[in-house]
């Protein structure tokens, strides 16, 4: 019988149960008889600093080897898909941006592309809007990969990487704030256009960032790639080959690190990605190390795309011409926050009754979307983000389902963890880059 400040044990109908609360592994293992109790069931999470979010892993251990791993998700389920059915199509953006909170721009673009495909207006989206969308999706990818570097660094013991990664990401969030008014959960991409135009000040910030990041990236690569601890913690760990990836539906950097150059930006382009010059980085090791190399290389490729998108940026409208869908007003910053511009308010309140009616109808009722269903997939920082949107012809979505790469990819944890060491579960889980807000929706 163990009596410790941190560990206690009790007999239950299912065997002896240990409750452990601190750094007392020795106390626990000392109390386990290695001959009769080889197996230990450890409940890791949902509140655990190394599970990359509120993910719970139930691990069965023999010594330090994991024999069985069961991921338990759902702790962040907020019913976003259900809520969408009670809002109009434009308001949906506000919800989907909160799913995967590390890549909200990608969520928004996926949703808007689906609504636009339902409306049949994909070809009418303006050149400038598509360019800004691409630019922001790539900035988002950089930000997301930086957070991945940061959190994975932290989980594998490189605490300084965490600070650096989050610091660099803050630059990107500044750019988003300059443009949309919000650091995260922007609600910036709208069906048919963008909430507002890209200001000149944001363009300057992006140009500064393009000069700043490559230097830093070299430092981080030097800090991690050459480091023996980092190599030993990542090389040959959590291997999942192409066959395993396809069977489990794993896409994104994990699949590319296994050697298959499957990137929807290249294979099924959207938003005009076919006009940009970039490579799809791959690795052949199929382990955590390969995923690290692929993600760092993807940051570089994304920088290339952002640079090209800045060059392609031409002045022009951001909303489609169809006034039945395009938002009637530009947004402007007032004393009480972001809202419709004062000129527009003055016009609809003082001069034009028809404009007022049009504004009111479009904002309160929204536009109708012809009945039908579409599935749109984009390359999210974590893999294929699929949006299955169904309309019944009304002003509200009938059903919107997100095929979240975090949700699907997490299924790979047992395949990677079973038979490996407990410490490698952390590395393997982190290498999938799950974001639980996206996984649980």
């Amino acid at each position: 019988m163990t009596t410790s400040e941190y560990a206690s044990e009790r007999e239950t109908t299912e065997g002896r149960v240990f409750t452990v609360t601190g750094g007392d592994w020795d106390t626990l293992t000392a109390s386990v008889d290695p001959l009769s109790n080889e197996k230990i069931v450890v409940n890791m999470g949902p509140q655990h600093p190394s599970t990359h979010g509120v993910l719970r892993l139930v691990l069965e251990l023999e010594g330090e080897t994991v024999t069985e791993c069961r991921p338990v998700v759902g702790y962040l389920h907020t019913g976003i898909e259900k809520n969408l059915e009670y809002r109009n199509w434009t308001q949906g953006v506000t919800f989907v941006t909160r799913m995967d909170y590390l890549s909200n721009m990608s969520n928004e673009v996926g949703y808007c592309l689906a609504v636009e495909k339902l409306l049949g207006i994909t070809d009418q989206i303006t050149e400038r809007t598509n360019t800004i969308r691409v630019m922001f999706m790539e900035l988002q990818r950089i930000a997301s990969h930086l957070v991945w570097l940061a959190t994975t660094g932290m989980e594998l013991g490189a605490i300084s990487m965490m600070l650096y990664g989050f610091r660099e990401r803050e630059y990107i969030l500044d750019i988003f704030e300059e443009t949309s008014g919000l650091r995260m959960n922007n609600g910036y991409i709208r069906p048919g256009g963008l909430a507002q135009d890209l200001p000149e000040s944001a363009v300057r910030k992006i140009r500064d960032f393009l000069k700043y990041l490559p230097k830093k990236l070299k430092e981080y690569e030097a800090m991690l790639s050459g480091q023996i601890i980092w190599q030993q913690r990542t090389q040959g760990v959590a291997v999942l080959d192409v066959t395993g990836c396809l069977a489990l539906g794993i896409t994104g950097p994990v699949l590319r690190a296994a050697g298959l150059p499957w990137d929807l930006r290249k294979t099924m382009p959207y938003c005009g990605y076919e006009n940009y010059d970039f490579d799809v980085p791959t690795a052949t090791t199929a382990d955590v190390w390969g995923r690290f190399l692929v993600r760092v290389a993807e940051i570089r490729e994304s920088l290339k795309i952002v640079e090209q998108s800045l060059d392609r940026l031409r002045p022009g409208p951001i909303w489609i011409e169809d006034k039945k869908i395009a938002w009637p007003a530009q947004l402007a910053l007032g004393l009480d926050g972001l809202g419709n511009s004062l000129e527009h308010v003055a016009k609809i309140m003082g001069q034009s009754m028809e404009s007022l009616i049009h504004h009111f109808k479009l904002v309160t009722e929204g536009f109708r979307v012809p009945p039908g269903q579409v599935y749109v997939a984009i390359e999210h920082p974590r893999g294929e983000l699929g949006v299955h949107a169904v309309s019944d012809g009304g002003t509200h979505p009938y059903r919107v389902h997100y095929r979240e790469p975090s949700f699907v990819n997490l299924q790979a944890i047992p395949a990677m963890a079973e038979g490996a060491l407990l410490a490698d579960v952390i590395a393997g889980g982190a290498s999938l880059d799950p974001v639980m807000g996206g996984c649980d929706r």
Binding site: G74, K82, K117, G120, Q373, V408
Partner: protein, 239 residues
């Protein structure tokens, strides 16, 4: 019209604090609402009263266009029971949907994955839609298949009534594991052959299936600056 405090059921016995200021949010409810607070669509243009029946999803005529004919022909060649399995072929918005009979879905998936001229290696997504009221077989389970070899996408759709099961495709596409669990959790569709069909997003002891159309959204009214805002599913809807 003057307001008589305490005469109507549901009306507060005294006027709320600050009602005499006349701010819209503080005006006590009047039994004679006139055009305000209407039930129904709230649309005064008249168009809102138009009944718009959801058009029946019809078979698309051949040729389907794009690669869709190739996919159908290849499936026909590889799967002799196609006429028994496929109920309908719909091409809409440049997407091909094959409506498959529920009991055949696992077989069709197997052929779709393994046949050399189909090669749908990746099952991108499995999810469901509840067409309550517009279809007798209310739950439509959809499978979005992706062929990486040919860069094609196809949607398989299975319609089942409440209580009817759909064979699990986890033997063909292991990735469907969690997604079928999510459909079971959210809609209550049961997949025989699934290794571990339990709830995944909702707690294990949850009652009901939240994504069903007859499952209420829930929520509580929120007070903001003196006005009470009803929960989202009870607000006026402009449909």
């Amino acid at each position: 019209m003057t307001i008589q405090p305490g005469t109507e059921g549901g009306v507060p016995t005294t006027a709320p604090a600050g009602a005499e200021i006349g701010a819209p949010a503080q005006t006590p409810p009047s039994p004679d609402k006139g055009m305000f607070g209407v039930q129904g669509t709230g649309d005064v243009s008249g168009f809102g009263r138009l009944a718009r029946p959801r058009p029946a999803v019809l078979d698309s005529p051949r040729p389907y266009g794009e690669y869709f004919d190739d996919v159908y022909d290849a499936l026909e060649e590889a799967y002799p029971a196609i006429n028994d399995a496929i109920e309908k072929v719909v091409v809409d918005r440049a997407e091909l949907t094959l409506h498959v009979r529920a009991e055949r879905i696992a077989e069709v998936c197997q052929v779709m994955r393994d046949d050399e001229s189909l090669r749908f290696e990746l099952c991108s997504s499995v999810d469901a839609v509840d067409y309550l009221g517009s279809d007798e077989r209310r739950f439509h389970v959809t499978y979005q298949l992706t062929s990486m070899t040919y860069r094609r996408r196809v949607r398989l759709e299975v319609a089942v009534a409440d209580g009817v099961t759909v064979p699990s495709v986890t033997q063909v596409y292991p990735t469907a594991d969690w997604q079928e669990r999510e459909i079971y959790d959210m809609f209550g569709v049961v997949f025989p052959g699934h290794p571990n069909l339990t709830r995944i997003l909702m707690p294990d002891d949850w009652e009901g299936h939240p994504q069903r159309k007859d499952y209420p959204l829930g929520g509580v009214p929120v007070e903001y600056k003196g006005a009470e805002i009803p929960p989202p599913d009870q607000r006026r809807v402009y449909q």
